[in-house]
């Protein structure tokens, strides 16, 4: 490779290493393995899903091409819309609470005003290492009145708390589990971003007489906007994909959590209990598109504001 380089002294842009100027296929040797597996587990299923969504299994005549009929059906499907409404409500309430707490803790850690900062940081992060299955089982037990904390509180204070697993409250109870699982992870993302703000900015602000609140609003928050946007997008994707928590909690709250509780649960039930693979594929693609559009809009807006 090096033999192709012009001899020293020949003019070439000095600010770039020579290697960068030439394209070669060498890089493919390294990214090739990733690309092959990626094509197999990401691109092929997406293509196959689109293909499937255009067909329908009929009792008589087998599988036939139906064009966009599955999509039409999905758009008029009340079960689909009510599940989408449910996760949207979840998203609008749970995500701001979770990210808000995470941001407050990150700012508190970064302020240097805490005793035992490292201890707090690692303790609040710990739930991230707990599998969703374990987290949900655990909270499910605690929600219960038999050997749960709710029962404890009821007897200790002689009150009757509303049942967290009742139809009215189960969505909030799921929200609590998800918040518990991911508040520390998001905190760490924000905290890492706060740590790399150059200290010269703070010094300048202090000389100008800026207080803590002003430093947070004028320096810290704008500086970590990228991290905030990414965390929001991941949380949106997470909310729309909600499956594990309702699915694992369902045995405890069978009347409150139906098999079409979330869009993901609905597509799962259609495919694996109803054998409606084609229709399920169409619903999943619609959900995928909605998720991508919202994530994209959030990203554009988040980046533009005040940038």
């Amino acid at each position: 490779m090096t033999t192709l380089q012009p001899p020293a002294g020949v003019a070439r842009r000095p600010d770039r290493p020579p290697k960068r100027d030439r394209r070669s296929w060498t890089g493919w040797g390294f990214i090739g393995p990733f690309a092959v597996v990626f094509a197999f587990v990401f691109l092929a299923p997406i293509a196959y899903s689109i293909y499937l969504s255009l067909f329908r299994d009929k009792l008589i005549g087998g599988t036939s091409f139906v064009g966009l009929d599955n999509y039409k059906q999905a758009l008029q499907d009340d079960q689909f819309w009510s599940s989408l409404e449910r996760v949207s409500l979840f998203l609008l309430i749970q995500v701001p609470i979770m990210l808000g707490i995470a941001l407050l803790v990150a700012l508190a850690l970064d302020s240097g005003r805490l005793y035992g900062r490292n201890f707090f940081r690692i303790s609040i992060f710990l739930p991230y290492a707990v599998p969703a299955v374990v987290a949900t089982l655990m909270w499910g037990f605690m929600y219960g009145t038999r050997f749960g904390l709710v029962g404890d509180i009821n007897s200790a204070f002689d009150v009757t708390l509303p049942d967290p697993l009742s139809a009215d409250l189960v969505l909030a109870s799921i929200g609590n589990i998800v918040t518990w699982e991911f508040v520390g992870y998001n905190m760490l993302i924000f905290y890492s971003a706060l740590r790399v703000i150059p200290s010269s900015l703070y010094e300048a602000a202090e000389i100008d007489g800026a207080g803590q609140i002003r430093i947070i609003s004028a320096i810290k928050l704008p500086a970590i906007r990228g991290a905030l946007v990414i965390a929001t997008i991941f949380s949106i994707i997470g909310s729309f994909q909600l499956f594990n928590e309702p699915s694992i909690l369902r045995p405890l709250a069978r009347n409150a959590i139906t098999t079409d509780y979330t869009p993901n649960f609905y597509t799962y039930s259609l495919s694996f209990n109803g054998q409606q693979h084609n229709y399920s594929a169409a619903v999943a693609i619609i959900m995928g598109l909605i998720t991508m559009v919202i994530a994209y809009v959030v990203q554009l807006r988040g980046m533009r504001k005040g940038a």
Binding site: M1, K19, R23, S24, W25, T26, G27, W28, G29, I31, P33, F34, A35, V37, F38, F40, V41, F42, P45, I46, Y48, S49, L52, L104, A108, S111, G112, R113, F120, S123, F125, A129, V130, P131, A132, A135, L137, M138, W139, G151, D152, I189, V196, E203, A223, R225, G226, A227, V229, I230, I233, I237, Q241, N264, T267, Y268, S271, M287, G288, M303
Partner: protein
């Protein structure tokens, strides 16, 4: 940054990834010393943050305490204090031996999925990240755009077609159905890309080549050692993803002999809810504790590595 074409360009700061991850914290600490008027510690703020910490830690305390109780003790004693009988060792013994030791089998399965899935994912991410960071090759921008775009595709849209594809190939109900999809970690690729850009000086690669090293040798002898802190981070996060995976095995596996721990615990729990099923909540709880201990230990032991690696990713991300 002006571009908004991909999430990756959202950072307003250059990445702070250094070659030595452990150097991160001390450097930041010295920064604070130079800040005029070092902030006074606040009891009020500590107490408020302490409340959040109670929220995250109390359920784990509940889990540890509950794992020491018998089935009866669980029902009759308070959730946050021990019952009269301390049955932790008994519970652990029963968890490992119940149903001919199926829990051990699930543990070994999980380890297999983690070693091959997370290990493979990390290896592919290192190779790919190195390529993106240090080579200019045809289709590079396309590769990057496709990978970033795919991250936004919900797992839902993929699960069913992947199942049907694998089913036609006879891969469902085999370990491969869990391992192969685990091999791709777009987040890992991204993290390694950012990390490799910072950690490997191009001049060093040039020097190795001039000395006659081939590409493979340059990679193993020059690049790999410099990538170690990033590798630990990616390995830890892909391990968590594989260890905690539930949805994919749920779809792909029918035979309980291939279950990972997560699916096994869920099965034990559901069994107690069915009529006539053996009620083993004490084993579900003890099994849950045993499932999270290795990961929490890994996070605590490797703290300084993964925190600096994550800082590298979160900034530019």
């Amino acid at each position: 940054m002006s571009s908004t074409s991909s999430p990756v360009t959202t950072a307003s700061q250059p990445p702070s990834a250094q070659s030595g991850g452990s150097k991160n914290t001390p450097r930041l600490r010295t920064r604070r010393k130079h800040t005029p008027g070092r902030p006074k510690r606040s009891v009020l703020l500590t107490v408020l943050t302490g409340l959040i910490m109670l929220y995250t830690v109390v359920p784990l305390v509940w889990l540890v305490i509950s794992a020491t109780k018998t089935q009866d003790g669980l029902a009759t004693s308070s959730g946050l204090w021990f019952s009269h009988k301390f049955a932790l060792w008994e519970n652990i013994h029963d968890t490992f031996t119940y149903h001919d030791g199926i829990f051990v089998r699930w543990l070994l399965n999980t380890l297999l999925y983690v070693v091959l899935g997370a290990g493979g994912a990390t290896l592919l991410a290192i190779l790919g990240g190195y390529a993106l960071a240090k080579f200019n090759f045809p289709g590079k921008r396309a590769v990057f755009a496709v990978v970033i775009g795919a991250v936004a595709v919900p797992g839902t849209a993929l699960a069913v077609p992947t199942f049907l594809m694998f089913s036609k190939m006879g891969l469902t109900d085999t370990p491969w159905a869990v391992i192969i999809p685990s091999l791709v970690s777009p987040f890992g690729l991204y993290l390694m890309w950012v990390f490799a850009t910072e950690a490997i000086p191009t001049e060093l690669m040039e020097a190795a080549r001039i000395d006659g090293a081939g590409e493979i040798r340059t990679f193993f002898q020059v690049a790999m050692p410099l990538l170690a802190p990033g590798t630990v981070t990616v390995l830890l996060f892909t391990t968590v993803a594989t260890w905690n995976n539930y949805f994919l095995p749920l779809i792909m596996l029918k035979d309980p002999n291939w279950y990972p721990l997560t699916l096994g615990l869920d099965a034990w729990n559901s069994q107690a809810q069915t009529i006539g099923g053996d009620v083993i909540f004490n084993l579900v709880i003890t099994g849950s504790l045993l499932t999270i201990v290795p990961l929490i230990a890994a996070f605590l032991l490797l703290q300084k590595y993964w925190q600096s690696g994550l800082a590298a990713g979160s900034v530019k991300e």
